[in-house]
Amino acid sequence: MTLELKNVVKRVGAETHIHETSLRLAETGFNVLLGATGAGKTTLIKLMAGLEQPTSGQILFNGEDVTGMSPQRRNVSLVHQFFINYPNMTVFENIASPLRVARVSAAEIRRRVGETADLLKLTPMLGRRPSELSGGQQQRTALARAIVKDSGLVLLDEPLANLDYKLREELRDQLPQLFADRGAVVVYATSEPSEALLLGGHTATMSKGRITQFGETPVAYRQPRNLETAEVFSDPPINAAPVAKRDGRIHLDEGVDWSATGAIAGAPDGDYTVGVRPHFVTPHGGEGAVRLKGRVLVTELSGSESVAHFDMGGRTWVAQSHGVHPYQVGAGHDFFIDTSGCLYFGADGALVAA
């Protein structure tokens, strides 16, 4: 199964919600749409579902043009961020609802609903109404409705965003297994970079109505094609600062420079933007690390990690390190860049060296 968007554009009035986009999704693993709120993930999902029609361009499913076809004829299922189930139906009837519309026989419905409920551990809840379920159970019911339908395209629009932390982890672990070997193209929208990495598969990073990169998730993370992708695919946010390359050295600031080694060594002299993920900026210097004299602005401690936002030369940087580091807000502190983790982008934002 494949889903292909060909030169799809979505305009509403004078606003362009989706700039010209071409994308080919396959059924191998999850296809993650990663982007901040407002990047266009939900619009793209609605276009894929057929809930909205593209202003121009084509949508092909298995090579067949489905542009303009109604959602019900496209054989898609959609799970929302909100727990959407029919409020007056029992869990059984909710899961059975897509099959009832498709006029599947009663015995077949019982069998398939039973199987799916088993898979999602909903069997004891089959007789209850959605309002009598916890949030996690409600969302599992919604997922069961998507699974039971056996559709060729499964769209998951931030399905875990409204669940509490523990449930989110539990369900996130199960999701890839639930949809494995179902022969469906699975699209998963999220705003969390860590979620994309955990789910694996392919990731399309989105920003301002454009797909900035699409490829295998680890590749998109390690070798972002441009600064925008790196920005979308980094949490805490990636540090970006202008640098100049001169005489084989990279100059960040007065007295802050390092020798251009690796791929950047071959690039011509000139102005670049350096991108440094926060975990390459730490309070402990290693060998060859570049010292930054900063002033701590904000700290976030998570127990296993310490994140510090600090000011250096009027620019805010973010440093991330293991363990609990005792920062003093407002005090000066030395930070060190591990330059092996630097990404260099040209004036147009394209990656020059990783």
Partner: protein, 286 residues
């Protein structure tokens, strides 16, 4: 260290005083009247439950209660479905929303006795637009003389005046349904009737419960509009409970029976409201 005193009671005194003046004292006055016989000069004689027995056995009360029940059932049967239908037909976004809302709210802003007077004139067979119009269609219509015409007019007036309330409540329920539900229905291929039955109606249930209760209580206690429109006539044909009550209390100055009737009236309203509420919220309690 813990100091104990009773000063905190002073803080609840204002509330006790307020409740006493606006609820307890008037209610107890009515109870007082209902068990005594009253003459002028503040002479009271104990009469026990005599007035209650008299009212409950009186055919006049039965007739008024029957008229009241038929009236309330009729307007509920019209106003609730009609209100839901209008709410469904109203736009959910766009420039027409405020226009529709204001149009809907207009009847609710008119004082009740003005509504009665308006319809009184509007429905007059000789000069009223409605009355003359109906007669022009060849139908003999005169609400001051025909009970059927009087009922028709009273019900039409109530529907005109109060359907808006149901519309506004149902509309509030409708617009609170997230778009995601409609999208899910479209993906399932649910038909409009299924969307109404399985999404809109269940999601409107809470506001509709409130709408039914409000319309029940208001219509069950209706006084001003029919009193101005028909004065309870022709004959007793539109004499609902509260109109009858006022006739007994002020027209005949039978304070004892009127008080007993008030209490019975109050208990019936309370009982039916409770039954409605229990039935309509049964599912959630299960």
């Amino acid at each position: 260290m813990k100091t104990e005193n009773q000063k905190a009671w002073f803080l609840v005194l204002p509330v006790i005083a307020l409740v006493a003046f606006n609820a307890l004292v008037p209610l107890m006055t009515v109870v007082n009247y209902s068990v005594q016989e009253t003459f002028g000069n503040n002479i009271f004689l104990w009469s026990g439950v005599r007035w209650f027995e008299e009212i409950l056995a009186s055919e006049r009360f039965h007739a008024a209660l029957t008229r009241q029940l038929i009236f309330t059932a009729t307007i509920l049967a019209i106003e609730i479905p009609l209100g839901v239908a209008i709410a469904l037909a109203m736009p959910r976004k766009g420039p027409w929303v405020p226009v529709c809302l204001v149009l809907m709210a207009l009847p609710l802003l008119i004082p009740w006795n003005v509504v009665g007077s308006m319809w009184n004139i509007f429905a007059l067979p000789d000069i009223g637009l409605l009355g003359k119009g109906i007669n022009a269609l060849g139908i003999d219509y005169n609400y001051t003389q025909q009970p059927v015409a009087a009922w028709f007019t009273v019900i039409l007036m109530d529907v005109w005046h109060w359907t808006s309330l149901v519309v506004l409540l149902a509309y509030a329920g409708l617009i609170s349904i997230p778009d995601a539900y409609y999208q899910a229905a479209r993906i399932d291929g649910a038909r409009p009737w299924a969307v109404f039955r399985h999404i809109q109606l269940p999601k409107m249930k809470k506001v509709l419960t409130i709408a039914v209760l409000l319309r029940f209580m208001d219509s069950f206690m209706i006084y001003t509009e029919p009193s101005v429109l028909t004065g309870g006539g022709p004959g007793n044909s539109t004499t609902f409970l509260s109109i009858d009550l006022v006739k007994i209390a002020l027209g005949q100055f039978d304070l004892g029976p009127a008080a007993a009737m008030s209490l019975i009236y109050f208990l019936i309203t309370l009982l039916v409201s409770w039954v409605f509420y229990t039935l309509m919220t049964k599912d959630e309690a299960e």
